[in-house]
């Protein structure tokens, strides 16, 4: 192949080639860093939370006059909700996984302060029905009994029993059987583990130990209602659910009911928006660069029509002309890619040091490089085909 003549031509006409190479390099840096961020966020958003969100609707309730007996208020509310067609069950919950608001506390795995490990556990106050409503899977031990549920316990009272997630069991007791074991609050109250569930995540996704959580048998007056419904009815049941809870009392404030999917979507909204913006920028970058290559390649073909004609006249086949321009373009693209590699890692290094982003994983590199090669060749194909069609007779004219 005619690499040497192509190179020497390129060196003579540096500006156009340099412009394309620079564009390719910058495009590469933008794409690699964007793809990296997009995949990183997407992976975060795919983390399971241990609950199928499409069955659930949540709504907050606040009773201003709090003299009525809470247990009976709760059971009346539950009856009202159960009357609605499509409602399968309902439970009071202090908060939900990925709702971005919740409580966390530090606990010890032994009674002795100086000889114990401290574990931070996110806790959920759950009603008796939480097991079925949330669709939790008890792996060991048992769920709460109805009598164990404490309604509006006094301030400072610690729960006596808890159902902990499997990840919490491992954090507290390693591989040992956690059932019947105790762990301790900062004020030395002992909590007995009566059961474990497979998985339930924390309310926040950017917190370490995503699955170290537990449920405690507590119902507070202003805890929200979580309602299990038939998935296809979850939108249409929002208003009826709020309406039936409103009927309880004039002094009751019922919040906006939301599907649990929406709660989770709100938590991830920044990441979703960021990914969308990055995708838009990336698509535009690819489009602009491709168009730029088409434009410059057409121009360079047009400028060299006479030379192309001459080559054809002295015996070059159409294929040779096509090959010439494609190889030329490939060389420029490759030059851009080499420069782009340096730029991408330079930018990533900056991100790592300045923004505490993870280090670039070279796993994406081959596909991006292949993609850019393909992009360059495809963009140059049209102009190169034009060159292929140059009439050899042109060489004899105009000289």
């Amino acid at each position: 192949m005619e690499i040497r003549p192509i190179l020497s031509t390129l060196l003579r006409n540096r500006v156009g080639a340099t412009l394309i190479a620079l564009q390719i390099a910058l495009t590469m840096a933008v794409i690699i860093n964007s793809v990296f961020i997009i995949l990183d966020r997407a992976e975060t958003m795919r983390k399971p939370i241990g609950i199928a969100p499409e069955h659930l609707v949540t709504v907050s309730v606040a009773d201003v006059a709090d003299d009525a007996d809470l247990a009976s208020v709760v059971s009346q509310d539950k009856l009202r909700l159960a009357e609605l067609d499509g409602v399968i069950g309902a439970t009071k919950m202090s908060t939900m996984p990925l709702s971005n608001s919740g409580s966390n506390s530090g606990y010890r795995n032994g009674p002795d302060k100086n000889d114990a490990t401290y574990i931070s556990i996110a806790y959920y106050q759950a009603g008796y029905d939480a097991l079925d409503v949330l669709g939790l899977n008890v792996t060991r031990g048992r769920w709460f009994t109805d009598d164990e549920i404490r309604y509006d316990p006094p301030d400072g009272e610690s729960p006596k029993v808890a159902v902990i997630a499997d990840a919490t069991a491992i954090a507290l007791f390693g591989d040992e059987d956690p059932i019947g074991r105790y762990f301790y609050t900062s004020t030395d109250d002992a909590i007995e583990v009566i059961g474990t569930i497979e998985m339930m995540s924390r309310p926040w996704y950017n917190w370490g130990d995503f699955y170290v959580t537990m449920l405690v048998p507590v119902v507070q007056r202003n805890n929200q209602w979580v309602v299990r419904v038939a998935p296809e009815q979850r939108e249409s049941l929002l208003e009826p659910i709020a309406e039936s809870l409103r009927k309880a009392s004039l002094d009751r404030l019922v919040g906006t009911p939301r599907t649990y999917d929406e709660i989770i979507a709100r938590t991830y909204q920044r990441d979703v928006a960021m990914n969308r913006m990055l995708t838009v920028v990336m698509t535009l970058v690819v489009a602009i660069t491709a168009l730029g290559i088409v434009g410059l390649a057409s121009f360079s073909v047009m400028q060299r029509r006479r030379q192309v004609g001459t080559r054809r006249a002295v015996g070059a086949r159409r294929f040779h002309i096509l090959r010439y321009f494609l190889v030329e373009n490939w060389l420029i693209t490759t030059g851009g890619i080499v420069l782009g590699l340096a730029l991408s890692f330079g930018i990533n290094h900056l991100l790592v040091t300045e923004y505490e982003m993870p280090k670039l994983d070279p796993v994406y590199l081959p596909s991006v490089v292949l993609g850019l090669w393909a992009l360059g060749l495809l963009a140059a194909l049209g102009p190169a085909r034009n060159a292929m069609g140059v009439d050899p007779a042109i060489a004899t004219r105009n000289i």
């Binding site: 156009g16 910058l26 301030d155 404030l253 990055l278 121009f299």
Partner: protein
Amino acid sequence: MTAYYFRLALKSIRRNPLLTGLMVGAIALGIGVSMTTLTLYYVMSSNPLPFKGEQVFAVQFDTWDEDDPYDNREGGSPPPQLTYRDAAALMTSDIPTHQATMLHRGFVMKKNIEAQTEHASARATYGDFFPMFDVPFQFGSGWDRTADADAARVVVLSAETNNRLFGGENSVGETIILDGETYDIVGVLDHWRPSPLFYDLNVGAFGDTEDVFIPFMVPISLEYGAHGNTNCWKPEVIDSYQDFLQSECVWVQHWVQLDNAEQKATFQSFMDGYALEQRELGRFQRPLDNRLNDVMGWMEYREVVSDDNRLLLVLSLMFLLICLLNTVGLMLAKFINRAPLVGVRRALGASRWDVIQQHGVEVMLIGAIGGLAGLGLAYLGLLAVRSWYRNYEYLAQLDPVMVLTAIAIASGSALVAGLYPTWRISRIQPAVHLKAQ
């Protein structure tokens, strides 16, 4: 002469609409994308208290755990909020021109007994809040120190709340019901929406200001907690609200107005003195680190402009650069293609300067069209951003400053993109191109 060049430019644009379209499109996209992210960045990092931001300070005390700092930045930073007891101690000082402890929480609001209940977000704070932050009033005013001390049931409504409940009429002297208690309305704010919402960044930096404002001691007397963040580190027995008020839990915000460096230094030494006094009592075991951050310093410390936004800004500026390189290439192609023509003009007596002017006009024309289209794209981009984020309605707006910036960037870009091609075309040897004809 310029009019003539302008006609020539139009002609040239018409002769080659595809290439021109590509150039305009590249500039427009570059401007559109970078202006969208730049506007976001600009609004997020703008000063919500432009005339006073340097005299108003957020207070931090390092009351945290001796062995484990609240925040690991800078080798251990103090918590962003205060304990109740430390805030109360600060309130006894008469050094600041104004100062106010504050917290945020929700109340159930009714216009009167029969009315429908609704949710009201409330800021419980001191009367100094209003003069300290230059809060504008439509009717009435804030409350005085007596009301602060007595936990008086008085309330200031936001303009929006007053519009909803009283149709925008002067409601001073009327009452509303919050959590079952009657409050006298003493003032109604004018529209006030600092963005970012600097004074309490716990509940999101771009949320709404509160619906109602009440004296700080009211929720304390009702034994209420705050909505937002309550952080505790110390294992201590909290059996009653009094225990909670005396605990090491941080949950209230505190701001002070200090008009000059001297006043600031005096207050800083008051704070440090208090901390040393408390250390004698077994608190403040960490190295002395009590901070006063002015408004912009505070927003930087709390990282209001997220890393995401910085990243987007960097990427979109790279995108603009790509678009410019693109335009340079296309423009160069277009101009060189026209070299024979320019050769004739040069041979007929046009100077280099004439050639530069002619092409300069064309470059500026393309830049102007691209810039305008870019502004349109930025507008669409901001619409998209607003639909993707809640609470960004106020944020993503093109204001005159940003429009001017866009125009400046567009003309600057066109100039940069056109510089080399124009120079190049002015340097051609007329003879070479004449021979080829």
